[in-house]
Symmetry: C2
């Protein structure tokens, strides 16, 4: 029997989930829930219902897992607890500093509803978190490093777009190669924000705008750019659409550590992602954790879980016997 999936929210991530479900033959998309007028929404899969979010309550018997595709700032802190009372749910809440608070809220709701909720799946938090955990458990004496990019930062792109005279913009976060090499050498360097990443901005300005002022405003923007070496390129709208319409991302999690009677041996563990589409890869991770959530719920587990709590075998379509014979 297929795992019956609902998608709650239909932006880039929701569309990614829809595509990912097609690559997982044990899953079936039942319905997409939207805050918009359902009849105004055209989705990519024929024969699948589009419903208003207020109808979700009528689907508790028709859906095995609801995948929440809202944003972390305001949507998920409300939606995940609310939906966890009714459904097995999975989200990709990614505001790292607020994860403990979100966990507690979701845990209470999921326990009230007798459901399983997996929060903060995706790749960071998610796959990167798993690699940080495995590496630090294996090498207790060592140093962790996470680098992001090369990739598009939506938040930084938005910040540029809010500057007067800017029509559109894309910002790339780029890890500094020399910093990566220093980390891989095992020297456990202390790296400043500026030493780890650079920021490259492609900006379309209004023809009457003061470009020098825009560039200065970007480079001096606190939190977003002031602590980084930032490059600003002014390009045309045509160039932006032609060369910068993708949403690539990726990054590196590296741990170096020592072992031996005299700590004489160095080890380097490195995990990296190179992604053409950030939302589609994130969706692919979430869908695997949705499978695990349903299996955990079927075993009678309840409450909030993270990627740290999920036995890896539950993520796979393969049986335990197949996994041991083919992948172990």
């Amino acid at each position: 029997m297929s795992i019956r999936v609902g998608i709650y929210g239909y932006g880039n991530l929701g569309r990614g989930i829809e595509n990912a479900i097609r690559q997982n033959p044990d899953m079936e998309l039942i319905a997409v829930f939207t805050r918009r007028a359902p009849e105004s929404l055209k989705i990519g899969t024929e024969g699948v219902e589009v419903k208003h979010v207020s109808d979700a309550v009528n689907y508790t018997d028709k859906i095995d897992v609801m995948i929440l595709c809202g944003g972390s700032a305001t949507d998920l802190p409300v939606q995940t607890p609310e939906l966890a009372k009714m459904f097995t749910v999975v989200d990709s809440f990614d505001t790292h500093a607020r994860i403990p608070e979100h966990f507690d809220n979701v845990d209470k709701a999921a326990k009230d509803g007798g459901n399983v909720a997996i929060i903060s799946s995706g790749w960071d938090p998610g796959m990167f978190s798993l690699n940080r955990l495995y590496a630090s458990a294996v090498l207790p004496e060592g140093e962790d490093y996470t680098f992001w990019g090369k990739g598009v930062s939506q938040g930084h792109s938005d910040a540029i777009r809010r500057i007067e005279g800017v029509l559109d913009a894309k910002q790339y976060t780029i890890p500094v190669e020399a910093a990566l090499d220093a980390v891989r050498s095992g020297s456990a360097p202390a790296l400043t924000t500026r030493e780890k990443h650079t920021r490259e901005c492609f900006v379309v300005a209004d023809e009457n705008a003061d470009k020098a002022l825009i560039e200065k405003t970007i480079k001096e923007m606190p939190n977003y750019f002031a602590d980084y070496d930032t490059t600003v390129h002014f390009i045309s709208m045509e160039e932006l659409k032609r060369d910068h319409s993708g949403i690539p991302h990726g990054g590196f999690v590296i741990r170096t550590g020592k072992t031996g009677a005299n700590k004489e041996n160095n080890h380097v563990i490195e995990y990296s992602l190179k992604l053409d589409s950030n939302p589609e890869f994130t969706a692919s991770v979430i869908v695997a954790f949705a499978r695990a959530a349903v299996r955990m719920a079927n075993k009678g587990e309840v409450g909030c879980k993270t990627v740290f709590d999920v036995p890896p075998a539950l993520l796979s379509m393969k049986t335990p016997e197949e996994l041991r014979a083919q992948l172990l």
Copy 2:
């Protein structure tokens, strides 16, 4: 209360376990069990008992987890089931083709004894297996590649040492850079054995030996060298001891896959290890899984498990709250 550990077998791996335990303050080494005369064995930790393997049966109440450090060819197929009847055990059984059979034998014994047994921990099988599983679950449409090295292969070094006229030898397995690059490009190449790895041999020959014959014998040895491009260097015993006494290893697990409505987006997931000491890193992984085995046993689980069955949080010294706040 500390986790009380026993080490069963005291070679390179056993010594690695002993060192790793010192890096894990929640663990305490209780005793080392050996097939040799216990009084002949000098271990690295003062105050720890050295006992004959036949005494293990008297330690069932004094040890929380027994770590088996024998070889996969003949030791572990017998020892792991035998000890799993009495103890929570962890091994690093690494004969991939025989894992299903080993699992079944250990599972029966562990269930008879009401114990948990984790088999095939280490890095391959082990960390590499986990990365193959996670990556294939996340990108169901894609290709997996595992490369080993640069590192010392004990089996291939031994095979060279058995040739007449060879006094000693070290063999390095080296991944082919061009093959790695082809895989990372996302082109999903079909690679032959010869295209993936080369083999480099450092040989100390008897002064009267026929070096040309030794080189020919190595290069034409079926299974071990015939399918590879192999380089043979004759060096002195002094050079071998000076330059090739380490046991480095490592490798790469790479999966490339596609997502999107038209499979238009490529993704590359790469995990790599660069290890100064293969046995010490293997030991470090095993010790983390020993912690998990004890925690699973304390929860009342029984039977044989693999790295695929272990919730990652159980590997870490940190509490679930700390993990969520610091690593998620």
